[in-house]
């Protein structure tokens, strides 16, 4: 690794430690001030100098006295007495900035000779959190990572993260989630450019099922806790389950199967979902339209689907790849009205509010040149073939890259690529009025 990057990393780490520690607060400017003072002193030797500081960066002017104080202290420790206003030796420090962070530049001016010292340090200006929102939908951040996440599963103190190239097991500690185990997925090259994957808890005991393009994995904790998790993957073109609850690995029955009408769901209690499985196109980012068991109607390829339990049987809502939202029910395929602002991803939620079940839908927010992408999440109810908004849009600071119903069916898990290009897994729940 390049030394300058190492210096930046060290500076970043120190800055973060300083910001996050419960110990007496250490200034994030301490290390860069020390580094710059050291370089200045090596140019100047022992003596006196007039210190001038100017700010060309986005740093607040309120920070400058603290930076000056640190520089003066560090220079004094190295034998340079600053701010005594001699005319012939001037140290002009410019607080500058690049696209990647702050840069401090010292011009050491002695008569006609000027020498320069430069230190890089990371900017903390991107650490702003999105403004709180007050909507019926509520977001709760579960975990944030730098690497892409396709789905997450919270197994009581253990978080499983499904990534395009690996499955991570994270354990909870007092300081947050810590990566305990990483299992690379078997090397596969023929991935879709926009890969997808899903996780479900096992039917019996702790563990999970994971579906990726052309791959099925299972994981369970080893007998000895210290041995970690046993994760096994195998190539598979089997269809993915369209449910958030555990599924049996047994193959679905062949041919069209009449779906019995379920009992109306009692409030707050998710009904048992009909186990429909859908085939995923490993070279694309969508489901092929072939479902098992068959619904008695040909479906086009689609990005997302949700099974609605109705008195007349199960109905399947899909978002076809040409952007149309369709309802497959009673052997017919009809368009759903009121979906013009729906994005590609949605997931079913049993909130207990209103009719009990809603669909949480992603959509484009108020993105425009000059603003970061800001998607939205919004709850809709489907009555007949009409979709009506059941909540105000919840604005997301970033792009929703995946949306799956959580195992409890009462919330959805949203994977969001935020404005800092980090991947955040959020639990989204609906608050009833």
């Amino acid at each position: 690794m390049r030394l300058s990057r190492l210096v930046r990393t060290v500076a970043a780490t120190l800055a973060l430690v300083a910001l996050c520690s419960d110990a007496p607060a250490q200034s994030p400017w301490q290390q860069p001030a020390s580094d710059l003072a050291s370089q200045i002193a090596s140019i100047l030797g022992r003596g006196t100098a007039r210190l001038i500081i100017r700010n060309l960066s986005s740093l607040s002017v309120d920070e400058i006295p603290a930076i000056r104080k640190l520089l003066e202290q560090d220079l004094r420790a190295l034998g340079v007495v600053a701010n005594s206003a001699p005319k012939d030796t001037v140290v002009r420090v410019t607080l500058s900035e690049t696209a990647h962070g702050f840069t401090w530049v010292a011009e050491v001016i002695q008569s006609d000779d000027t020498q320069v010292a430069v230190v890089d340090l990371p900017s903390s200006k991107n650490s702003q959190t999105p403004a709180p929102v007050q909507f019926m939908l509520r977001r709760e951040a579960l975990i944030t990572t730098r690497e892409p996440v396709l789905d997450a599963l919270d197994l009581e103190g253990t978080m499983i993260l499904l990534a395009p190239a690996e499955i991570d097991v994270e354990t909870h500690s007092q300081t947050g989630w810590i990566k305990a185990q990483t299992t690379p997925n078997p090397a596969r090259l023929q991935l879709a450019r926009d890969p997808r994957g899903m996780l479900l808890p096992l039917v019996r005991g702790p563990g999970f099922d994971a579906w990726l393009a052309g791959l099925h994995c299972t994981g369970s904790p080893a007998q000895a806790p210290a041995a970690g998790w046993t994760i096994e993957c195998q190539a598979s073109d089997d269809p993915w389950p369209l449910t958030s609850t555990p599924v049996n690995s047994e193959p679905a029955p062949a041919g069209p199967v009449p779906i019995p009408p379920p009992s109306p769901p009692p409030a707050q209690t998710p009904p048992p979902l009909t186990q429909i499985r859908v085939f995923y196109d490993a070279a694309r980012n969508y489901f092929t339209g072939v479902v098992s068991p068959s619904l008695g109607v040909d479906l086009p390829p689609f990005y997302s689907a949700a099974v609605l339990e109705r008195s007349t049987g199960a109905a399947l809502v899909i978002n076809s790849i040409d952007g149309k939202v369709l309802l497959a029910a009673n052997g017919k395929l009809i368009p759903v009205n009121g979906t013009s602002d729906w994005g590609s991803d949605f997931a079913l939620i049993y909130s207990g509010c209103g009719d009990g079940e809603q669909i949480i839908v992603s959509g484009a927010g108020n993105s425009s040149p000059g603003n970061s992408p800001a998607d939205t999440l919004r709850a809709f109810q489907i009555t007949g073939s009409d979709a009506t908004a059941a909540s105000s849009p919840l604005v997301i600071d970033g792009t929703v890259t995946a949306l799956w119903t959580a195992p409890d069916s009462k919330s959805v898990l949203a994977v969001i690529r935020n404005s800092q290009n980090q991947y955040e897994v959020d639990r989204v729940t609906a608050l009833c009025d």
């Binding site: 690794m1 390049r2 030394l3 300058s4 210096v7 370089q39 060309l56 960066s57 986005s58 410019t94 500058s96 900035e97 690049t98 696209a99 990647h100 702050f102 840069t103 530049v105 011009e107 320069v116 010292a117 430069v118 230190v119 890089d120 090397a187 090259l189 023929q190 991935l191 879709a192 450019r193 926009d194 890969p195 070279a283 694309r284 980012n285 969508y286 990005y303 790849i321 040409d322 952007g323 013009s340 602002d341 729906w342 994005g343 590609s344 991803d345 992603s362 959509g363 484009a364 993105s367 425009s368 040149p369 000059g370 603003n371 970061s372 992408p373 998607d375 792009t399 929703v400 290009n421």
Partner: protein
């Protein structure tokens, strides 16, 4: 300056917005038009689609893996090991091997490689050198180190551009290259099935084609950015990625350093910025933009005609020739510089020949990393010596010392820009200003 850069950055990030967020669609044919030949750097659009490097520019200018999955250095950066990605094949089905990468890289640097030895050890490439090579992973991002198949085993060099990239060359006719999606691409199959790259198309014709739907992505030169926005074109603009600079020979009368310094001081960058380039980009007297180095303000860019005349000491130098690369605005800029120099007492004849005493050039900034970018520009200016150290102060000193010789006079940092059609989605520009066509997709026509 930063505010303007931030706006550019967001323009790049945001791409084209205003529709409900949807997953990308696969399929379709995209037509791209360029003024150049599509092959010659810095607009080597074809190569960027067909070939991969060992490393690449990632998000936010960070270094990212490409054909190499990881790398590490030992012996004070004198020895580097790069591990090749497994299972990658060239477009003709030949597997990517360390030997094939070595053949390509060795050909690329033509005997003047940054390393003294390159060997294969299984799927690992081992670069060694007597001098430290701290910037090697960054240097390997550059276009000149893109990997292509050099030998098909039939004893003859294969046709142009068999690589491992997201698109493969299917044919060429009258300057139009047809490319098809590489279904086996290690980074995932691109969304758009087919690309047509039309080369040597004038900007005026490109814009006409875009307006009637015959093109989807066309170029917007910096000096035309304002006009494109006035015409309500959807424009993607990069941060400054090209350095407009005047290269000064050291032959003849120009062996005299004060004369070169006088030329440097006599140029009115403000006029170039305001008049020729329509206030696009940034005025600069440094090689690295402020966004990259953070210290560009240390290099004064103001014109000082009095000092220039003082350096000449009343002696009129012989008439000099001033060439320029490209045409249009570069010719106008060269004429403006000639006028500036005439005002200082230096007579200059503008010529289209490239072998001239002074040469106006556009030099791409090949990297977002300060040391690698500086090394790249110095290399382009004939200074092939690697930097001894990459700490910020050392990079500044290297740049300062080089500019002090007055053989290269930085003038403007310029962005690259493209206008895109209404059906193009999620097109962004890389940190080097290249359109990322492999991640773009086309809206389905209803």
């Amino acid at each position: 300056m930063l505010r303007r850069s931030a706006i550019s950055f967001f323009l790049v990030l945001v791409g084209i917005c205003g529709w409900a967020r949807t997953r990308p669609h696969y399929g379709g044919t995209l037509r791209v038009e360029v003024d150049g030949d599509g092959i010659t750097s810095p607009d080597a659009t074809l190569f960027h689609l067909v070939l991969d490097g060992l490393t690449r520019d990632g998000i936010n200018g960070q270094l990212a893996p490409a054909l190499a999955t990881d790398w590490k250095s030992t012996d004070g950066d004198r020895r580097w090991e790069f591990t090749l990605r497994e299972g990658v094949t060239f477009h003709n089905g030949y597997p990517l091997t360390a030997d094939r990468v070595i053949a390509s890289l060795t050909q690329d640097c033509g005997g003047a490689c940054e390393w003294s030895s390159l060997k294969a050890q299984g799927s690992t490439l081992i670069f060694t050198s007597d001098a430290p090579m701290p910037e090697l992973p960054w240097l390997l991002v550059e276009d000149r180190f893109l990997v292509r198949l050099m030998d098909t085993g039939e004893g003859k060099e294969p046709p142009c551009c068999i690589g491992t990239g997201p698109y493969q060359l299917a044919g060429e006719r009258s300057g139009t290259f047809t490319l098809t999606a590489n279904e086996n691409y290690w980074g995932g199959q691109p969304y758009i099935d087919r690309l047509e790259l039309v080369t040597k198309r004038s900007v005026r014709d490109q814009w006409l084609d875009l307006s009637v739907g015959r093109a989807d992505v066309v170029e917007v030169p910096p000096e035309e950015l304002r006009l494109a926005q006035q015409q309500r074109m959807t424009v993607l603009s990069s941060p400054p990625v090209d350095l407009l600079a005047l290269e000064i020979s050291t032959d003849g009368a120009l062996a005299n350093q004060p004369l070169r310094a006088a030329i440097s001081l006599a140029i009115d960058r403000g006029a170039l910025f305001n008049v020729i380039f329509q206030k696009q980009g940034e005025i600069t007297a440094s090689i690295l933009p402020q966004e990259v180095s953070g210290y560009a303000f240390l290099f004064p860019a103001e014109r000082d005609l009095g000092k220039a005349q003082q350096l000449l000491g009343g002696v009129k130098p012989p008439k000099l020739s001033l060439g320029y690369e490209g045409g249009g605005s570069m010719q106008l800029a060269a004429q403006r510089i000639a006028l500036n120099l005439h005002e200082a007492g230096i007579d200059v004849q503008v010529t289209s020949a490239l072998h001239a005493d002074l040469l106006l050039r556009s030099i791409p900034l090949a990297s977002a990393d300060p040391a690698a970018a500086l090394e790249s520009v110095l290399g382009a200016a004939g200074e092939a010596t690697p930097l001894a150290a990459t700490l910020p102060t050392a990079v500044y000193r290297a740049e300062h010392d080089f500019l002090d010789r007055k053989t290269l006079v930085p003038l403007l940092d310029l962005p690259r820009a493209y206008a895109v059609g209404a059906r193009v989605r999620d097109l962004t520009l890389g940190s080097n200003g290249t359109p990322d066509l492999a991640n773009a997709w086309l809206e389905v026509t209803q």
